[in-house]
C-alpha cells in the first residue's frame, strides 16, 4: 500500500519505520526541515518539508494515489484538516487521525475521518486494566453512534456472583455481548448463563449508561 504520514514527531517516526518494515511504501510530510533531514539520513528520500494541511503539498506527495493517509501531529486541528483534504479532494479511501484531545474523537468520526486513535484513551484504558479498583474498561467507541464497547470484571464480593443473567437487571441501553469466564472459556449469554467471580463481561452500552451497568454487575450485596 502507499501510505502518507503527516507529522514526523515521535509517533510519526516510529510508525513510519514500522510501516516500512511491513513492506509498505511510505512517504512523510513534516513541517520542520531539521526533523525531515534526520529522517532522510536514516531512512532515505521518503520525506519532504511541507505543511500537510495544504492541498498543494498533499498533491505533490502523491495523495491522489495514496491508499491511506495518517495524520499524527500534536495538533488536532491540523490532523483534522489534513485528513479532510485527503478525503474530499483526493478521495483517499482510508484516513486515520491521531486525537490529542479525547473530546474531539466523536466530532472527527462525524466529520468523516475513518479511524481516530486517541492516545489519551489508549493510555487510560491500559491503566484501567492494570488497576484492580477500576472494574470497567473502555475497548472502543462504535462509529456513527453514541455506543461503546466496554469490559466489566465482576469482583468476588459482587451481588451478582452465582446469579443467572436472567435475574440481573441490566439497564435498558446496555446489551451483554459475551462473557469471558475466569477459566478462559467464552459464553454467549442467555438468561440461564451463570455469572461468576472474576468473569469479564463484555457489553455494548452508552456513555450515559455505563455507570448504571457497572453498578448492576459490580455492586456489593
Amino acid at each position: 500500500m502507499y501510505i502518507i504520514v503527516v507529522g514526523a514527531g515521535k509517533v510519526g517516526y516510529h510508525l513510519s519505520k514500522a510501516l516500512l518494515k511491513s513492506q509498505h511504501e511510505v512517504f512523510i510530510i513534516e513541517r520542520s526541515a531539521r526533523k525531515c533531514e534526520a529522517i532522510r539520513e536514516e531512512l532515505g528520500s521518503m520525506a519532504f518539508v511541507g505543511d500537510g494541511c495544504e492541498e498543494s503539498v498533499l498533491r505533490e506527495a502523491g495523495t491522489a494515489r495514496a491508499d491511506v493517509v495518517i495524520s499524527v501531529t500534536g495538533n488536532d486541528e491540523d490532523n483534522l484538516v489534513a485528513c479532510q483534504i485527503a478525503k474530499h479532494r483526493f478521495h483517499v479511501p482510508r484516513t486515520i487521525s491521531l486525537i490529542n484531545n479525547p473530546n474531539n474523537e466523536k466530532l472527527f468520526v462525524e466529520l468523516g475521518i475513518d479511524v481516530c486513535v486517541s492516545s489519551t484513551d489508549i493510555i487510560l484504558s491500559h491503566i484501567e486494566e492494570e488497576l484492580p479498583a477500576h472494574s470497567l474498561v473502555h475497548f472502543m467507541a462504535i462509529r456513527g453512534s453514541n455506543r461503546e464497547v466496554v469490559g466489566i470484571r465482576i469482583p468476588p464480593d459482587a451481588a451478582v456472583v452465582g446469579q443467572v443473567l436472567g435475574e440481573v437487571s441490566i439497564p435498558g441501553d446496555s446489551l451483554i455481548s459475551f462473557i469471558l469466564k475466569r477459566d478462559g472459556t467464552l459464553v454467549v449469554p442467555d438468561s440461564e448463563a451463570v455469572l461468576g467471580s472474576e468473569d469479564e463481561v463484555v457489553a455494548i452500552t452508552t456513555e450515559e449508561g455505563e455507570e448504571a451497568l457497572r453498578e448492576a454487575l459490580t455492586g456489593v450485596a
Partner: protein
Amino acid sequence: MGCGRVGAMVARTLWEEGHQVVVLDADPESLRHLPEELQQEAIVGDGTLEEDLRNGDIENTDAFVAVSTGDTANILAAQMARHVFQVNNVICRIDDTARYKIYTELGLKAVSSTQLLSNLILQAVHS
C-alpha cells in the same frame, strides 16, 4: 473566536449594532483591541476546546465567527460549533485559497482574506 484586527472589528461592529457579543482569544493581550465593555465580557481561552466554547455560552448563540489567523484552528472550531453545538450560523475565516475552496464545497460558510484582498487589489489595478 480570534481577537486580532479582524476579530476586534467584527465584534465591535456587531456590538454597536446592538448584538450581545462574547469574544474568545487565547492571548489576553489581544483583548486590548476591544472597547471596554466587550473586554469585560471577553473570555481568555482556546476556541478549539469544547469547554472554552461552553464558557462563552455557545449552546445559546445565534452565530459563531472563527476569525483567528490560524486556518486549521478556525476550521476545527467552526465545525465543532456546527456539529457539536448546532449553531445555525457559522462563519469561518480560511486564508489559504485552496483550503477555502475545499471547505466551501463542503458547505462551510467561509471567508478568505487572501481572496478578498487580492480581488480588491486587482480591481484597483484594472480601474
